[in-house]
Symmetry: C2
Subunit: 107 residues, 2 copies
DNA sequence: CGTGTAAGGAATTCTGACACG
DNA sequence: CGTGTAAGGAATTCTGACACG
């Protein structure tokens, strides 16, 4: 009751901390954004803010880069994955499985 | 599998973000630390880092302050709560309920 | 392509202190 | 007691660019 699991998604971590957490340089992190692999939020004054999910994604990216995978390919794979998930979700929506899974919410 | 729920406890949020999240001024947040209500971690260069749990605690503190509760009393209540939980935990340990609850981990 | 670095400026954070009440 | 503020310095972050490969 009240334990919000969206901690993982909240964008609250500054780039310096992300750098420590991932072992990547700030330069690298910003570059991966340029290549559309990560999408930090911006604070009012323009500072980047990342989520734990972003941190994990960046670690995955770092691993792929070590294997020699180019940012371009990483992006392709990510886009494919996304489409796959969307497709699945659309199917579920059609079948009304969402209600079934979570129980029908009556206001 | 692999979804670490310790997001809530990781100290990664800078004081500026905590201020936005809680509505408290940085001055207030630092003062509550002085009064031993919150315990941020320090980065190598001395910057404070907070967890989501800290943020929630600070929100609770803010609510109590609005009700006129003094930091001194808030601290007392927190210490009492802690002792209560420790007592409970000690009991469980004696009974071996920990293993029962989580299943026996064999390395 | 992916990353390092120096550059200059703007914003952040820190501490210790004075203020008011 | 709890919080605001001005002060001065140190660390952070930002962008655009040049460099190497």
């Amino acid at each position: 009751m009240s334990d919000n699991p969206s901690y993982k998604q909240r964008k609250v971590i500054t780039i310096g901390v992300v750098s420590e957490l991932t072992g990547l340089s700030e330069r690298q992190i910003r570059y991966y954004e340029e290549r559309k692999l990560v999408f930090p939020q911006r604070s009012p004054k323009g500072n980047r803010k990342y989520s734990f999910a972003d941190v994990e994604l960046l670690i995955d990216i770092a691993n792929k880069r070590e294997e020699g995978v180019q940012t371009f390919e990483i992006r392709q794979d990510m886009l494919r994955e996304e489409r796959k998930k969307e497709k699945k979700l659309r199917k579920q929506l059609l079948r009304g499985e969402i209600n079934a899974r979570f129980g029908v919410q009556k206001e």
